[in-house]
Structures are given as C-alpha cells and as structure tokens.
Symmetry: C2
Subunit: 436 residues, 2 copies
C-alpha cells in the first residue's frame, strides 16, 4: 500500500528519537499499521543537525511552514514546543487538512480548546499521547480503555525532574538546592528549571488528563500550581517517620460542586505502589467507579520513550486516515457536543487532609492553644509527633496530620496559630492524599 507521508517539525531529542525508531522498526510497524509510515520531510532551524540525523533519508528544510503546506504530507508531527510558532504551525496544518501529532502539553493545556475546535471543524485528527507521561499510553487508557467508568479522580507523578529530585532528597537526606544542581549536572533538570520545579509542566499535563477524565474543557488557568523549590528536607524526614512519602502530584478530582485541579507536593502512604515510583519515572493512578484503581507506570521523558507515544499516534491516525470522522475517538474522550462546562473549584474549596509543622516554644499550654484553634475550625487530628527538644533548646517542632477538611478552614486555623506568641515561624502546610 501507498506509504503515509509524515512531515516532522523539530528534530531535537524527541524528533531524532521518532525518526530513528520509525526507521529501525519500519518492518514491525508496517506489519501492524498495514502500510509504511515514513517521515519524508523534516524542518529544523538547525539544518546541520537535521541533515545529520536524517542522513539523506528525508528532505530537509529550515522553513516549517513549507512542511505544513506541502500537499504530499498527510500528517504533521509538531515537536517545536511552546505556545508561539508551534500554535501557528499546528493551526495552519489543520487549516490545510493535515492530521497533527504533538507532544506539546503547554500548547494543548493553554490553547487546546481552540486547536481541537479547529480540528473538529476541519475533520482532522490531533494525536497527543506523547504530551502526558511520555511513553506510557495513559491518554489511550483514559480515553478508550476506561470508557465504561465514571472517573472519580486521577493522581499522577507526571514530571520526572521533580520526582528525581524528591527521590534523591529522601535517599540521601540532601537539600533541594544541592540535589537540583546534581540533577542539572546529570541532565535531569534544565539550565532554567522553572517549568519543572515550580509544577507548571505537571499542571499542563494534569489539565489535559482532567479534561479527558471528566469531559470538561481545558482550564489550565484555573489550576492551583505549587512546586517543590520551597520543600524542606526536614518535612521529607518527618513524613517518613509517619509512614508517608512526599511526591509532586498532579491531582484532579470530581466533586458534586465542581472539579479539583491542583499540583503540589503531597504526602502519600509509603505502602502505596505509586509511593515507590523512584527517580525520573512517571506513574498515573486513575480511580474509576467500575474498575477501581488502575496504575500506569513507565518512562515519562527521553528520546525513544516519547517517540514511542508519537509513533503510536501516527499508527492510529494512519489507520483512521480515510475513515469517516464519526468513527474516530473524540479528541477529549467525550463527543464534542457532550463536553460540559463544569467549573474548577478554587483552592479554598479543596477537600483533603493536611500535614502541619509548627515551630513552637517548649512550654506548658502551647498544645492546648493550638488544638483549641483547630477544633474551632472543625479540623480533627489524625496523628501527631512532637520532637523532643535538644539539650538547652527552648523550641521544638510539632507535626500534626489532620483528617479530611476544607482548605479554607486550614487557612483560617493557620492564620490564628501564627498569631500566637509561642509560635515562632510560619506554619509549614503540606497536603496529604490516602489514594486508597
């Protein structure tokens, strides 16, 4: 059968991986797809690199717009990243009737509604398996594999950089700053690590998963985003003593009043499988009403793992290329007309349990004052440890785990606790999830 012609925009790490895997496994992929899939044109600003990787097996250009306008191209792979030129190219490719495959979570989380509307209008497909959790087929699992379920919540370790840093902090008892430098040296963190360490990348991804799970529009601007750069090694240690690990989780949960959408460091029970996902690995836990909990684990980044997801999309698109659009899986899992306008709840309305660390003077009555304030705010305590003060030390740490309560109650309690003269520092507040 006639090969499918693919144009590749951006031949960096993932682009190079995609080109190589597609070439290496061409026979096996053709046995699956029923026809050859070939990257025939590559656009990159770095022509030298593009020539080197393609080695004469594809046409090379530095003009990405010439690829999205090429009548010979059936599918465009966008691996440029960012919201700027990538958005223009994707919309142009769609306008030209081309199917698109992209790994660009930032673009989809921020401009996904526009892009999917354009694709629907034009009758083309936009594949984005590579946008969340690299090679793990989580988009497919959520959109197709779990289609019987009313999804209740998702919790994911969906940023490898931060999971690597947290794993190292715990294993070696080191500070965030020290481990970040090590991660940068090893290539696990970028020179400017902001997107990763401040939780923005994870928030892009959980925004996409949230839309797929609940049949709602992408609402990245409503997500609560909190990274790990302020996380203290002491809290990792205390959490450990209480039987918990701290992971940066993307969490989205359906509640009667709306949807929770948040990224923050989270205490989870050490015995959960997902608590034992170490290093740069990713894992996504999905709770459905029929299936219960299912977990998906694998490499969340890297040339070939991400290429694996890009190519899976190419195979899907190839298969459905000439089929009526009505037979396709809807982009956002639900039929375009059935996407609902459910609000994202503000952080103050989030319901979860909390880890609180207080620095207090070691004298009588302190605990009574604090527990009174918590009781006033309807917050009940599940566990507590008080560190024994060192010889001659007049202050100590109290660590409390609460039962499930509302964020605004905790805000109010913390404000009152911090106003007590015996409380010597800002209260450390971390959220907890049982994931049971």
């Amino acid at each position: 059968m006639k090969p499918i012609n693919v144009g590749l925009l951006g031949i960096g790490t993932v682009g190079g991986g995609t080109f190589n895997v597609l070439a290496r496994n061409e026979a096996e992929i053709t046995r699956r797809a029923g026809r050859p899939i070939r990257i025939t044109k590559v656009a990159d600003k770095n022509l030298e690199l593009a020539r080197q990787v393609t080695a004469g097996r594809a046409e090379v250009t530095d003009d990405a717009f010439s690829v999205v306008s090429d009548p010979e191209i059936d599918i465009v792979i966008e691996l440029i990243g960012g919201y700027g030129i990538a958005r223009e190219l994707v919309l142009k490719a769609i306008a030209n009737g081309k199917h698109v495959v992209t790994a660009n979570k930032a673009l989809l989380a921020v401009h996904g509604n526009e892009i999917f509307a354009a694709a629907h209008e034009k009758g083309v497909m936009v594949g984005f398996e590579a946008a969340v959790a690299g090679g793990i087929p989580i988009i497919k699992a959520l959109r197709e594999g779990l289609s019987a379920n009313r999804i209740q919540w998702i919790a994911g370790i969906i940023n490898g950089t931060t999971n690597f840093i947290l794993s190292e902090m715990r294993d070696k008892g080191l500070s965030f700053d020290t481990v970040l430098k090590e991660a940068q040296r090893l290539g696990y963190a970028e020179a400017d690590p902001t997107f990763d360490i401040e939780g923005i990348d994870a928030a892009h991804k959980i925004t996409i998963l949230s839309a797929l799970a609940f049949g709602i529009r992408m609402q990245f601007d409503k997500a609560h985003v909190e990274g790990i750069s302020k996380l203290d090694a002491d809290d990792i240690k205390y959490a450990e003593q209480l039987g918990y690990r701290i992971k940066l989780l993307g969490i989205t949960r359906r509640r009667p009043e709306g949807v929770e959408l948040r990224v923050h460091p989270t205490l989870i029970p050490a015995k959960r499988l997902i608590a034992n996902v170490e290093g740069a690995m990713n894992a996504v836990l999905v709770q459905g009403d029929a299936v219960g909990a299912t977990l998906y684990y694998g490499k969340g980044a890297g040339a070939e793992p991400t290429a694996s997801a890009v190519i899976a999309d190419l195979v899907d698109v190839t298969r459905m290329h000439t089929a009526d659009p009505e037979h396709r899986v809807p982009h956002l899992a639900f039929q375009p007309g059935a996407v609902e306008d459910t609000p994202i709840l503000p952080l103050s309305e989030v319901e979860t349990s909390y880890y609180l660390r207080l620095r207090v003077e070691d004298k009588p009555g302190v605990l009574a004052d604090i527990t009174r304030i918590l009781a006033d705010q309807q917050i009940s305590i599940d566990a507590m440890i008080q560190r024994e003060p060192a010889e001659g030390e007049s202050q100590t740490d109290i660590i409390m785990l609460t039962h499930i309560t509302r964020e605004k109650n905790v805000d109010a309690a913390i404000a009152r606790i911090e106003a007590l003269p015996v409380v010597k520092k800002q209260v450390i507040r971390l959220r907890m999830e049982e994931l049971g």
Copy 2:
C-alpha cells in the same frame, strides 16, 4: 442516534456487573460513544436470576442461540466460559455477522486462531479486553499504545487467586494448603481451584499476550505450565532472605531462535514495583525497545472491573460498527497477513537464572562436589546461603542462585547432583527473573 443493541450470553458475576455498569453509567458512556449502548436481550440457563438482574429492562431467554440469531442484535457478549457451547455460540454469532465481545481466555487461547480467522472472513470484530487482567486495559496498551515498539518480553501477575495465596503465604508464613482453604472460604479461590493454582488460567492469558506482542499465532499447547501447589513456604522465606519475592508469573520473551512462553513460580527482586503487587491484584510489565519498561496495574477479576473491560470493547465496536474493516485495529495487533509462524521454544531451551535448594549431609567436600557439577554444566553461581544446622542435626540446606543459563544445563546438573549420596532429597528448582 439509534442505540446499539447488545445481546448478553450469561448473566453471572461479570454479566450482572456488565448489565449494571452499563445501566448506571449510560449517560456518561453515551457522551463518549456518541450513541446509547443497550443490552436488550439476555440469555441464561437461570431464568430466575436473569429476570432478577434485568428487572424488566431486557428480554430474557434460556435459549442463547436465539440471541445470536436475532436480527435486532448488533453485538453479542459471550460470558458463558469454557470451550464447548461458548465456542459454538461465538462462531454462530460471527457467521450471523454479529460483532462479539468476550472475556473467555480459555476459548481464545485454545481456539483463537479459528475464531479470529472466522471473524476476519466475515468482517466482524471480536473484542477481548476482559480476557486478560480484568479491568486493566492491557490488550489496548499492547495492541495500540505500544505499536511503535519491538516488544522484547512481557511478565505478568495475571491470576489473582495465586497472587493472593502467595501474598498470604509470605505475610503469615503459612503453608500452601492452609492458605488455599482460607482463600476458598473468602471466595478468592474456587471449590475446584485447579485452573488457577496449577497455572492454566495464567497460561491462557500469557498465550494471548504473547500472540499480540510478537505477531504470532496462539500456541497454548506449547506453553510450559507450572502452578504453585507444590511451592514450599521455606523457599518463600529463603527467597526473602536473598532479597527476592516469589510470584506466579506468565512470561513470554522473544529470542532469535523463537519465543519463550511459560508460567511458573518466579523469584523477582523485592525492590521491583511488580514484586510489591499484593493480594488479588494483577500487574503486567511490558518491555519494548523504544519505550523501555511500562507497567499496568489494577484489579484482575470481579464483577465491575471485568465489566469495565467488556464495556470498553462495546464502545470501541460501537464506534467502528459501520466503518470499513480496513480501518480497524487487527485482532492480533498485526495485520492478518503479517502474522508469523515463529516457534515456541521447548522448556529445555529457556534461558534464565535459577534458585536451587539442596538438602545435604553436613560434612566436608559436599560443596566442592556440587560446585564441580555446576561448573561442568557451565552454570555459574551468583549467590549462596548455607543454613547452619540446628544442634544435633546432621543435614542442612544449601541455597544457590545462578547466573543466566539454559534449562537443559540445569536439568543435567540436577540429575547428577541428586545422584550424589550426600544429597538427601529432590533438588528444589525455581526460576528467577531480574525484570531489569
């Protein structure tokens, strides 16, 4: 849009779950599928039960053949089980041009080639997500999500009963027989547990995964099948001391000479995520050349988890119902013409590492004799423990872990070792997998 009409054969545990989930989540499922999916006709020998579950919402009959011949029915769900009447009904439904969804791993592992050939001939789909690992969408992951990869191997905990028994044996230090009775009391094991405990159920499932992974025909009759009924609690304890857990794994691996296909108790490093899958849960680890290792975890059985998979297939079939067959995902992941005749290797050609336990007289020279025999067979030792004999005891246990070697070399070594007068019992041999 016009609803899709489904006929259900068998309204036991999974059938009832399917009926209930489909009714409960009808709105959500319709938002995904684009049209309602309704079970309009149910066949079961137990008419009373069928009437009770359906409560007037579907026609009830005790004649399954009337369902597969009903011109109003678009899709038939087969949940009868076994190879007999189920095979007849599935083939009849296909002959009548109906799509089929089944959870029947035994039927597919043994008669799959015939059934898929008939379905291909007739241009209908046969969905079987529910046949392996219950609600975990592993068939979809393997067939579509990982389509870029040359799959290298799969190792799965794909039988909940045996994983429950092994978890209990380890946790509580109990014998197989004691735990089996407990499992039967709790409903985790059937009155006749043979299919589960002897590994047959797991072998059916790994046969299906093997075909999907490597593009080969189903070859259940070539699988090596070994259960856990002879497993000694002592070996679980020794494995633990060496940093391993024992799990009943279904394993299939591609080698240049052919494919390994085997089910047996297996030592795996305790630090692996899959080693920490406890109780009746299932997990499948897949190694692809591009993506590396990915793991899929969830409930492998039960009414609603299995229903989740059955209904996911219904949604897929509904979507592709009127599309040309060429657009569909091939039943066995590879295009029918591209399925290869790769042989399954005999057990003697399997390559892995081994755990050996020897009961020996505690006297000089014993270890020298044994290690000489192993060296003669090109088997090298990775780790060893020798239990200190109790006061007055004249015999002791030697436990050895070997590096990777071939099964036939181990067979030969064991025969020679057992012939030594100082060796007092049959040598215990278990296989090990690093899964790294």
